[in-house]
Symmetry: C2
Subunit: 477 residues, 2 copies
């Protein structure tokens, strides 16, 4: 549409009329604080109608959030007030723990009915969290065509391309005419998630390319799909990691990405909205992992869940803190002779940690985007060494002069200057190499990089500073 802003009603008088008159597109009420109370009322009166009304007015995502505060009996009572369609909607929007609880209320037959209101990908996710015996039973009692797709999806890792793909897409043979295609589309359309692009295959189901629905709408009835075909060189294999799919879609700004098996037969499609949750998940995992928190912890997780989640990381950190402390302990006679060292040494380690974390965060985000790896980019280490030298010299001069003035001893300042440079180089090199080496070894670099980094910058920082001070002790006294 050629949108023409000048036609819009924008004078003041018009506006008031419009706002009064305007009724339909009511904005969604994002403040869903009242939902707990509404749930209580519904439960008190066992009010089926009010429950269904709630599902019409409030998004399933918010209902699922509200259900978190109910106990198991209340939850069961509420779910049993709802028709299967709403149960399906809430299940799709709930997180795993709530999904498991809700599924336990229903028989296998009921679950099969509920699954029929979901996409295959969502149904497969739910099957994946059920106990094995239930999963097997349900698959056995389903229609063969449904259970085959679900088994296929379940055969892939949850975090693989096959695990996140949509199976509701339109695939047409290249030999169809536009008229035949439109008829097929009309039949299939209500069940499909993706309609904008049609996947085109040869007679053996193998991906040949895409046809844009826009082209079909304007094309001549007898044109063959083959002649409208756009080559589309992007696809992933079903067992590729979801991060690879996310990186391809993000980098090349794609709307859809076909998922194929090794014979190039189309198994499914990943859309940009599937990728949003992947990116959201991977990034917050990275931020949390860098700080030693598992992805399972939410800001409102229970006390003991948070405790269990955080204490292991603190204990690991404690050992590295002892390591750094023992370096200081080894130089206790030097410190006893020049107490000023004890005040100056945290500056060396602290600044090393900060500089190293800067490098680390850039390398980590670049690895997460698939832009960087050890093999191609190891030469950039010389840039980090140079930065360590320059940043260290600048910070070293300022801190060195300050210490010289404070403690009236130029040698303390000189030792600070050289320690700062050396520790900043250590920081740059480790901040650069650690994540790349971990990534190369297929270890998630976000989890362990920062602790290894600070272990290096602390122990090396103390060692360099106190070591230099010990060597030049006579000058410091």
């Amino acid at each position: 549409m050629e949108f023409e802003p000048k036609k819009m009603p924008d004078t003041e008088t018009e506006e008031t009329d419009i706002q009064k008159e305007y009724e339909t597109a009511q904005k969604y009420e994002f403040e869903t604080e009242g939902i707990e109370e509404k749930l209580k009322d519904i439960l008190k009166d066992n009010d089926k109608e009010a429950a269904e009304e709630l599902c019409r007015d409030v998004h399933y995502v918010d209902i699922a959030n509200g259900l978190d505060d109910l106990d198991e009996d209340e939850l069961k009572q509420f779910m049993f007030l709802l028709p299967e369609e709403d149960v399906a909607g809430i299940l799709e929007s709930a997180w795993e723990e709530l999904q498991q609880k809700i599924c336990s209320f229903y028989t296998n037959d009921q679950l099969i009915d509920i699954f029929s209101y979901m996409t295959n990908a969502d149904a497969a996710d739910l099957l994946g969290i059920l106990p094995t015996y239930r999963r097997k039973d349900i698959l056995r009692f389903m229609k063969k065509s449904d259970s085959n797709i679900l088994k296929l999806i379940l055969s892939f890792d949850e975090e693989s391309a096959g695990g996140i793909m949509t199976t509701e897409f339109i695939a047409l043979k290249e030999t169809l005419t536009v008229r035949e295609a439109i008829n097929k589309i009309k039949q299939i359309a209500p069940e499909t998630e993706i309609i904008e692009y049609l996947l085109i295959t040869d007679k053996l189901h193998r991906l040949q390319g895409l046809v844009d629905l826009r082209k079909i709408l304007v094309a001549n009835d007898n044109t063959l799909l083959k002649d409208l075909l756009e080559e589309f060189p992007f696809y992933v294999y079903a067992d590729d990691d979801q991060e690879l799919a996310a990186n391809i879609i993000t980098k090349y700004d794609l709307t859809i990405l076909p998922v194929v098996n090794k014979n190039m037969a189309i198994l499914g499609v990943i859309t940009s909205d599937d990728i949003i949750s992947v990116i959201d998940q991977e990034y917050s995992e990275d931020i949390l992992a860098m700080s030693g928190v598992s992805k399972d912890e939410e800001f409102d997780s229970g006390f003991f869940e948070s405790f269990k989640n955080r204490i292991p990381w603190l204990i690991i950190n404690m050992f590295t803190a002892f390591l750094a402390s023992s370096v200081v302990g080894a130089f206790s006679s030097t410190i006893a002779a020049v107490v000023a060292l004890s005040a100056a040494m945290p500056i060396v380690t602290g600044m090393g940690g900060n500089a190293g974390t800067q490098t680390l965060s850039i390398v980590l985000t670049s690895i997460a985007r698939g832009e960087m790896n050890l093999k191609d980019d190891w030469k950039l280490i010389f840039k980090e060494i140079g930065l360590g030298l320059l940043d260290g010299a600048i910070i070293g001069i300022i801190t060195g002069i300050t210490l010289t003035i404070m403690y009236k001893n130029i040698f303390l300042g000189v030792i600070m200057f050289f320690s700062m440079i050396l520790n900043m180089i250590v920081a740059g090199v480790t901040g650069f190499l650690i994540p790349l080496i971990l990534d190369r070894a297929n270890i998630d670099p976000a989890v362990s990089s920062s602790i290894i980094l600070t272990t290096f910058t602390d122990t090396c920082g103390f060692f360099i500073f106190l070591g230099l001070a010990t060597v030049f002790l006579s000058k410091l006294l």
Copy 2:
């Protein structure tokens, strides 16, 4: 499509035949290392044909990456070999610095022609980076209908909903019949970015809801759009922040989100692929900002760009390091008396920093998702105090016993135990409050939280530990 996996060719013999025979959907060559050489060859021979072929074979994103290594004359020579359509494609995929260089090669008239191959959103982005006088000239010489839309987009902040929205959508009046709608769609379709959902308006352009194209395809010719209308309660105002749009789309798993003005007239649409880059950008900005790196730095940024980017943060950190150091300095007589304290004190501050960062990262990711704010969630501070108490007691007991054994002094152990608890509580409270308070004050919490946190945990940690040691100094000797 009902996809039936059993029909796929999957026996070994079939597979070899297929792979030989298979020709069309060639996988995109992601290893684009050879591109620099190809560019050199093209430039040497001034080979127009080879340049166009490169644009057909290699994605513009990768060509733009390859152009980074050319000097200005080479770049100009290469760009002038290309037809306007390819120039447009490369401009859309390039980052700002390269875009500015390329735009400088062309006259205003040429740029207007190049813009005609782009979406309005991309053209507006490019106009936004041009010098003001060029922007004004170009807008003046454009077709009125084009320049009006571009002016509209340019009037919104780059990081607002209006700044990222697409203006190529289909909006139809609710009084149209399905037949009329299909005719309009056929006319507009080739120019639109979104075809899956049609936005439905009343006669004053105000959003009434959506109609799914799937429904139109199967509906009766004379049905009114009004009768196919789905209410759609999600929309944002053009000057809302892009993060709000990203949070709504992510939370409610939407494919599109209409952007309206205050009169509810539709200005544009945000799609899930627009949001991917927002999320990608916001999250990596958060990770980088937490570590004191600006979003403009890439892993392969030039040496001095990286230097300029990182040194301010290091200097700020240096001042906080001096602050912590001066706390230690104030207790120098205590340390002189008991040198063991200098080895033990980094354990207290280090563990406080670690525990605080755990809390901080959870609060930061929850704020970024719009799940948490000071008003609704301040009560969770009691959980953090409890966690500080429990974690501090556990870590405090282990470190306390170790110090008691190492230095054969139980009072040192007891002081460590209480200092650890107190500093972990400080860490939990500051890690929780700082980002929420900054967010409330509309300051980006990712940028400044971590430095304020470690300033607290370092200075408080040293003060608590050395302060207790000073009070009980007689017991330690």
